[in-house]
């Protein structure tokens, strides 16, 4: 990346293309709906939707790392847990106004640092593809087993008792001494979600983002073009870790509580499933479908909790097999074709799976 100045003229071509496409229309409608929603419903649903938004941040982090950079990470829940626990540990020990805001920052940084270290070991070690998935999954499971055995009183950091599966008490985000809840909390979470989304949209249309798409398609070729592939992988892994940790901190403070099951196997698969069903290559599709599926999951939880995961598993399997770009992303491109009458322009948004390098058998 040393000769960056020389490349400045090589701007992505789609920059000037009209913004009128299904993905953007869907985002505007989604945002409008979320802005109006609080005035149409009761406090419980508002709080509930804030919870969905906190979790959806994790789906965004996975869409970034899996969809944009082609790295399948099962470790997002680990960073989620790190963010939540570190937020709690910091805010329980440092009292006073403003502590919760610093606590969020501490959680995010902790997630980012762990991701950067793990990412360094993996990507500079030449670990890629399936092995990244396995290593991150192992990290998730080890963190869960470690946190699960912290029930005893000896497991405390200052004032913060970790409490194993009984869960750790976590303070709520507050301004001054007044904890935030209801509409202010909702709009705070909405602002964070939309802010992260816009940041990621901007990043993925930057030269860095196009580099990510390139390395997803072909790493050696991207490297010969002068990109520092390993550094970019560590960067994107670290950024995704930060976002997942942010998600965890917001989740923990929303419920005043976090326990090891938030990093367990079921928790690790949930974002993967949401993103696979919605569409991993489109941040918008991943975000909207995550919100919808969380709502669906909650409705099922009251009537038939065991069936929710089976239904999601079947949906994800069908998506991977038959609609690899994801149901919602497929819908977007269908609307683009039939309503807006446009061919696809975005080079990173090609249909189908990752181009095959190994010969097909059959």
């Amino acid at each position: 990346m040393a000769n960056a100045a020389e490349w400045d003229e090589v701007r992505p071509v789609s920059r000037g293309v009209s913004l009128l496409k299904a993905e953007n229309v869907a985002f505007v409608l989604f945002l409008a709906y979320l802005l109006i929603y609080p005035s149409t419903t009761d406090d419980f649903s508002i709080g509930n939707t804030a919870y969905f938004m906190a979790i959806t941040l994790m789906a965004l982090s996975l869409a970034l790392i899996w969809g944009k950079a082609g790295i399948l990470s099962f470790g997002q829940t680990a960073f989620f847990g790190i963010g939540g626990y570190l937020f709690g540990i910091y805010t329980l020990n440092v009292l006073g106004s403003g502590a919760t805001w610093v606590g969020i920052l501490v959680g995010v940084m902790a997630g980012g640092i762990v991701a950067a270290i793990l990412g360094y070991f993996m990507f500079y070690g030449g670990v890629n593809d399936v092995f990244v998935g396995l290593t991150t999954l192992a990290l998730t499971l080890v963190l869960q087993t470690f946190m699960a055995q912290t029930a005893g009183p000896e497991w405390a950091v200052g004032e913060a008792r970790l409490n194993g599966y009984n869960g750790m008490y976590v303070p709520q985000i507050s301004i001054g001494d007044a904890p935030l809840y209801g509409r202010p909390l909702y709009f705070l979470y909405l602002a964070i979600l939309i802010g992260v989304y816009l940041l990621l949209r901007w990043l993925s249309s930057s030269r860095w983002g196009y580099g990510l798409v390139a390395l997803q398609e072909n790493r050696p070729r991207t490297e010969t073009f002068g990109y520092n592939v390993r550094l970019m992988q560590v960067q994107v892994f670290c950024l995704a870790g930060c976002i997942a940790a942010l998600s965890g901190a917001l989740y923990a403070s929303w419920g005043s509580y976090i326990d090891p099951s938030s990093m367990g196997l079921t928790a690790a698969i949930t974002p993967v499933i949401y993103v696979a069903i919605g569409g991993r290559r489109s941040l918008t599709a991943a975000m909207i479908s995550s919100m919808i599926l969380l709502q669906l999951s909650q409705s099922l939880a009251s009537s038939a909790p065991e069936y929710a995961l089976v239904i999601f598993g079947v949906l994800a399997l069908l998506a991977v097999l038959f609609v690899p770009e994801g149901f919602m992303a497929a819908l977007f491109s269908a609307i683009d074709r039939w309503v807006f009458r446009r061919a696809r322009v975005d080079p990173g948004m090609g249909t189908g799976g990752v181009s095959s390098e190994t010969p097909r058998v059959g």
Binding site: L134, L309, G313, V361
Partner: protein, 297 residues
């Protein structure tokens, strides 16, 4: 003193056999197809359930375990034909798809049989050395692991199937051109790996509680063993199992189960930094080195 030595050996032997048995099926599939079967833990769970159900109906445990291996192997063949085959060349998608299969299996089992099932008791009783009692069954597991390894060696090195499968691993298109039905090889290999998962699940069934999330107790160990071992199931996996087994046993007896697991992960992360293709990659590099420089090292 002698008690201590025996105890250490016993702990190592138990760790080794658990690691090897839980990883070998995963390693066989990975070595052949490059696919990591994330439903591996659930296949083990399926093996444990089949073994338990058959054994509680009065069938001898050995037969029950074999039935479990065959049943899970057949199920694996079905999964390969319906799911995995469609995803060749899309490795990450096959990982996500097999995970979805695993999720459906464990949740489906929860719906069908409830949160837990009456298990079978561990056979052979126990023996004592010095003051400490040891489970005979766990020693038998170690012997089974070694026998299984020998059988797999014979299968891959001495049979037509083995020859064809090694050809397919080396170069699928040339193997195909020479008349090997590679698609069938993939199905058979996936079935073999699944059968080994079912076998491991069946063998572990008497030592554990039978729950739908049975597999999650072993998959971390299985994954790290395959990561450290690399693509060569016959050489890499046992060496990795021995190495990690030693670490796990040493840390586990000293500091407890959880620290043992953390130690496994840290070792793995360091090893992949040094040997991204695992122990198999290292062996391959030694093998490929020109003979003149071999002594130079």
């Amino acid at each position: 003193m002698l008690d201590g030595v025996f105890n250490a050996l016993y702990q190592f032997q138990v760790s080794f056999s658990f690691l090897l048995l839980s990883a070998i099926g995963l390693a066989v599939i990975f070595g052949m197809m490059g696919v990591i079967n994330l439903a591996h833990g659930e296949f083990m769970m399926l093996g444990a359930y089949i073994t338990t159900i058959v054994a509680t109906h009065g069938v001898p445990l050995v037969v029950a375990v074999l039935i479990a291996a065959i049943g899970v192997g057949a199920f694996g063949a079905v999964v390969e034909i319906l799911v995995v085959r469609r995803l060749y060349g899309r490795l990450l998608d096959s990982v996500a798809a097999t995970w979805a299969v695993g999720l459906i299996l464990s949740q489906g089992m929860l719906i069908l049989t409830g949160p837990s099932m009456q298990g079978v008791s561990s056979p052979f009783g126990s023996f004592t050395v010095g003051q400490t009692g040891y489970s005979t069954y766990r020693v038998v597991l170690g012997i089974i692991a070694l026998v299984l390894l020998a059988l797999l060696y014979l299968l891959f090195m001495k049979t037509k199937f083995g020859l064809r499968s090694r050809a397919t691993i080396q170069n699928p298109s040339i193997a195909q051109a020479l008349g090997v039905n590679t698609a069938r090889m993939y199905t058979l290999t996936f079935a073999l790996g699944s059968a080994l998962a079912g076998l491991a699940g069946g063998l572990f069934a008497p030592t554990a509680t039978i729950v739908p999330f049975f597999g999650t107790n072993y998959i971390v160990e299985a994954f790290v063993t395959v990561i450290v071992g690399g693509a060569n199931a016959l050489l890499g996996t046992p060496i990795a199992a021995a190495l990690l087994g030693a670490i796990n046993a040493a840390l586990g007896t000293q500091f407890g189960l959880y620290i043992g697991r953390v130690g496994l992960l840290l070792t793995t992360i360091i090893i992949i930094r040094v040997l991204p293709e695992g122990i198999s990659g290292l062996l391959e590099r030694w093998r490929m080195r020109p003979s003149g420089t071999r002594s130079g090292q």
